[in-house]
């Protein structure tokens, strides 16, 4: 029999705030975290709206010799564990594991290594320590003393959700009692120029589901959730913020980057997660969409939501304008948004929207609204048509 999986702590650091409280305030005020891009000395993209964290991450993490993704991950993981364990209990924590989603790891350091090598003939191999995208999960395990499984998932923009998916499976099956799961990503020249060359960066900042949308805004950040079996959480009187009631992952098997336009793969993920949760479409009170603001994503996602929910569709919003698209962190950040929405009983707005695109007929949530929501859904869709659906139910905390 599968065990119930609950969320007992969350941590988040992004352009919208460096704690869950700051993040929720940004969502409540409808404040976008996008500011003119200034990192990586990239003349081509300097000034383009992006979700960069302005806080001094080295000082905040105390990890002066580390790279941005590791610092982000450690800060978010510490917050999550602190909420779950106001009084640290090393006996439980030692058995816990960590699974993070990461797309590029410390690649910006490797890029800097290459730049120095080619332009100045300098070989600073220390910079290459962070090249593996697995480095952030290892940094978290080391920082917090987690001796359980330590893994990294890289499935592009659904990585963070797939990390939660895998961790939930491990807890439900009894393989583990507690996992820290989430995602991180920071900027690299690869993602910047890659998305730039795909002409997928909106110079005005992303506008999910808007008929004038022209693509994404890049972002960086990290979010980590403490997932735990309900049994152990109750035994130690941990705060149960939410129950993870459904999780699913499907693939379009269609194209290297574009989603299948009919949204069938996404719809299968939604059906699968609903089936697992025992809920029906009418029980879902809010959908946090992937909503990257590319033409293709928003259309395919709208098709899928319509396929499953039809006329009974709950409010839908994308929060990408608030955070930017944080790639591997996105699914985890939005999972935390869902936990905060359940806890605070409110639905975040689809920031950045002027005119809804008629080819994306979703029930868009234009403004922040208090609402007695019990079950919420988060969709995360990666390149290659990698679709993840998570369903969360309000907890007891």
């Amino acid at each position: 029999m599968k065990r119930e999986v609950v969320v007992t702590g969350v941590g988040i650091v992004s352009a919208a705030g460096i704690s869950p409280e700051e993040t929720w305030n940004s969502l409540k005020e409808g404040k976008s975290g996008l500011t003119p891009f200034s990192l990586l000395s990239s003349p081509k993209y300097t000034g383009v709206p992006a979700g960069q964290v302005s806080a001094d991450l080295a000082a905040l993490s105390g990890l002066e010799q580390s790279c941005r993704p590791d610092q982000l991950a450690v800060i978010a993981a510490r917050q999550a564990l602190k909420e779950s364990f106001p009084n640290a209990d090393s006996r439980v924590m030692e058995k816990a594991g960590v699974i993070l989603g990461a797309c590029v790891g410390g690649m910006s350091q490797s890029e800097f290594f290459l730049q120095q090598l080619l332009l100045e003939g300098v070989t600073d191999t220390d910079l290459l320590r962070f090249h593996e995208c697995a480095c952030a999960a290892e940094a978290v395990a080391e920082d917090l003393g987690l001796f359980g499984p330590c893994e990294t998932i890289s499935t592009a923009c659904s990585s963070g959700s797939n990390a939660i998916f895998l961790a939930a499976d491990m807890i439900a099956s009894g393989e583990s009692d507690m996992m820290l799961a989430g995602g991180i990503d920071s900027f690299s020249r690869l993602t910047l120029n890659g998305f730039g060359s795909l002409l997928l960066i909106d110079p005005q900042g992303c506008r999910p589901f808007d008929e004038q949308r022209k693509g994404i805004s890049l972002g960086e950040g990290a979010a980590v959730l403490v997932l735990e079996s309900a049994e152990t959480a109750r035994r130690r009187n941990a705060p149960i913020l939410a129950t993870l009631s459904g999780w699913a992952n499907t693939c379009d098997a269609h194209h290297a980057t574009a989603p299948a336009p009919d949204g069938d793969g996404i719809a299968r993920a939604i059906h699968s997660a609903l089936g697992q949760s025992g809920l029906s479409p009418k029980d879902i009170h809010y959908i946090n969409a992937h909503g990257t603001a590319t033409i293709e994503n928003d259309r395919a996602e709208s098709s899928a939501i319509n396929l499953v929910f039809g006329d009974g569709m709950p409010p839908v919003s994308s929060t990408k304008r608030v955070f930017g698209h944080t790639f591997a962190a996105a699914g985890a950040i939005e999972a935390v948004v869902c936990v905060l929405a359940l806890k605070n009983r409110a639905i975040p707005a689809n920031a950045g929207l002027d005119q809804l695109d008629p080819s994306c007929p979703v029930r868009i949530q234009r403004n922040f609204e208090n609402s007695d929501i019990s079950n919420v859904m988060s969709l995360s869709l990666g390149f290659g048509g990698n679709n993840n659906c998570l369903i969360m139910t309000r907890g007891e905390a």
Partner: protein
């Protein structure tokens, strides 16, 4: 202009590994969908090609839409950019 068009066709075949000869490419056919059949991922190759081979940077979709209409469209875009 005709030489440039010929050159662009050759580069498209080479860079995008098209399964046809440069002569078979219609100068005025749309690059995407039912025309030449290119897709969103091929845009990346086109942007890199213009930057690397012609020194022209395209940074957003609005510019891309002007440039990537057809082979003739690319040639005219390059000519206009070089002149300005």
């Amino acid at each position: 202009m005709e030489d440039l068009i010929k050159e662009i066709k050759q580069r498209l075949v080479d860079n995008l590994q098209l399964d046809r000869s440069p002569q078979e490419i219609d100068t005025d056919a749309p690059l995407f969908d039912e025309g030449l059949g290119l897709d969103s991922l091929d845009v990346l190759e086109l942007v890199v090609m213009l930057d690397r081979d012609y020194g022209i940077e395209i940074v957003n979709m609005d510019e891309g839409k002007k440039a990537f209409v057809s082979v003739r469209g690319i040639a005219e875009y390059i000519t206009a950019k070089k002149a300005s």
